[in-house]
């Protein structure tokens, strides 16, 4: 830059050329998001559920995994009953193994959310990488990847997950692998579609004109511009992952008995439903339902706010 020194006064720039400083993108996003009270309530509930799941070990009345604290004699107690040793009041009753249902549910929520969010993130990272590769490489690479995506999406998710679990066996890691396998394709398709549009834009051409490397152009210029649709799909798919995991656990092929998720709790109580012991399935079912509905509500609102085509 040594040769480039400013000589003489810079010509005056017209004052109208300087627009006022606007609010930050995040503030603008929030002011638009909060126009829907329902979505704000849903977001609040999501936050509450996440906090509950995070602090579950510190707030539960009883550790449902600690066999010393659980007494089989207390099994299937109706809501509000005191335990036989008088230490606990089971506000939501107990399940078939004598576990305090409220405690088991909080732990179950913790597992359900963790599995959903983890598989969501891994599937998002994998799908985004594959989708970006497809759109940027083009040609045969793109055709091969997208046909694989089509193939993947043409399989019913639950069927594929069941087959994978049958092959892999039980366990949290296996469940996550199965969920990632059935979900990455959604992300790949979304990212590839957005990236195709983005990489035709002039700023990508300009970045190439600046001599930036391919990886830099893809990761720093194209990927951030693909994030809005990715966030929306991610939210909805996370809710989907949670319900899929619950389904697998309900069918008895999901998480092991020792780490009961919400789906497993529902399944455990299912056999007692007809004998009037509704609570074992009912309360975890409500929590599962609320969790999925509020996440989807947040996802819908994000879609409305982040999609420029739906803007007024």
């Amino acid at each position: 830059m040594s040769r480039l020194v400013t000589e003489g006064p810079a010509p005056a720039e017209d004052k109208a050329d300087v627009p006022p400083r606007e609010e930050t993108p995040l503030a603008r996003f929030w002011s638009e998001y909060r126009e829907s009270p329902l979505a704000v309530a849903a977001l609040l509930l999501v936050a509450v559920l996440i906090v509950l799941a995070l602090v579950a070990p510190y707030i539960v009345p009883q550790n449902p995994y600690d066999l010393a604290q659980v007494d089989v004699l207390d099994s299937r107690l109706p809501p509000g009953t005191k335990s036989s040793n008088g230490k606990y009041t089971h506000w939501l009753g107990t399940d078939g193994a004598g576990r305090d249902l409220l405690s088991a549910m909080l732990y179950g929520l913790r597992i359900s959310l963790a599995v959903g969010v983890m598989s969501g993130f891994i599937a998002m990272a994998l799908g985004a990488a594959v989708g970006l590769l497809a759109s940027y490489a083009g040609g045969r690479t793109e055709a091969a990847i997208m046909r694989l995506v089509d193939l993947q999406l043409s399989f019913p998710a639950i069927l594929l997950a069941l087959m994978l679990i049958a092959v892999l066996g039980k366990g949290v890691d296996k469940i996550i692998i199965a969920l990632v396998t059935v979900q990455w394709a959604y992300y790949a398709r979304t990212v590839r579609g957005t990236a195709l549009v983005e990489q035709r834009k002039d700023y990508v051409e300009a970045a190439r004109g600046l001599g930036l490397s391919h990886s830099r152009i893809v990761l720093k210029h194209i990927l951030p511009n693909c994030l809005p649709p990715l966030i929306v799909v991610g939210t909805v798919q996370t809710a989907h992952a949670i319900s899929l995991e619950a389904t697998l656990s309900f069918l008895g092929v999901g998480l092991p008995q020792t780490e009961p998720s919400l789906g497993l709790l529902i399944s455990n109580g299912f056999e007692y439903m007809l004998s009037g012991k509704y609570w074992i399935s009912f309360f975890p079912g409500i929590v599962l339902l609320v969790t999925i509905v509020v996440i989807n509500l947040v996802g819908d609102r994000l879609r409305d706010v982040l999609n420029p085509r739906l803007k007024r």
Binding site: L4, A10, D14, K201, G209, L210
Partner: protein, 326 residues
Amino acid sequence: MTTPEPILDVKGLRTHFFTRQGVVKAVDGVDLRVAKGEVLGLVGESGSGKSITGFSILGLVDPPGRIVDGSVRFKGRELVGAPDEELRSIRGNRIAMIFQDPMMTLNPVLRIDTQMMEAVRAHAAVDKATALARARDALAMTGIASPEQRLKAYPHELSGGMRQRVAIATAFLNDPDLIIADEPTTALDVTIQAQILHEAQQLVRRTGAGLIWITHDLAVISALADRIAVMYAGRIVESGPSADVIGTPQHPYTAGLIGSVPSNNKRGEPLRQIPGMTPSLMNLPKGCAFRNRCAYAAAACASEPPVHEDGRRMVRCVAPLGGGTR
């Protein structure tokens, strides 16, 4: 004009697009020379291949397009067929490009400082502070008000004129030897256009960089360029010093272009225009591509037009005009 040391020497450049419908000969034998500190105006209608010429020099032509023939020598280095790595080290560093629409050429999600520092650090191993300082200096040079503040802004917070200044500053960041400006003022309003032109001219004079200014606007280029090359259907039909080309056009197409500038027309009369349309570049007939629209067309025009060159000017025509604006 014989120039002592051309930094860019393009010879017989052909860039063709291989589409399903046929081969589009967007650039079909272009010769260009740009000397140090020289401003070359590349003029032509939409679709005459002027932008593709610019992209070809940088090796930025995407499939189905391909450079099929010719050479681009930049400071003695051959760029056609050079490995991607080498081209990348030249782009944005030795040869910079300024694009047409400043609204589109900045990444909307990155701040100006991020984008400018990235351009510096892609080519020089400097720390962030140095890169930022360079970005600030370059931005100040373009006459932008309060560069410090502008650096922290996102593209949507800047107006079109300011964004184009950012783009120009980015082009000058690495002190390039050549700048290719692809209609950089077309998307701006007229008052801003004049300022940008002035800044660009000053910067070129100051840094000694060569400049190829691609435009369809003869009025803009006549004030700015040292030399003008007029492009039609993928070829240069006339080139020479600005004053000569504007004052005494030799090719009927150039004369037509000059004639259709509004200020050259009399008030109350319909604007003069060149009859017909740009021919499809798919199946160009043999001979002069302009002959179907030319008032002087003769039977001889159906064969390949000869090139008249006297060292100063070049014209590709069977019967060059004698002079005057007819």
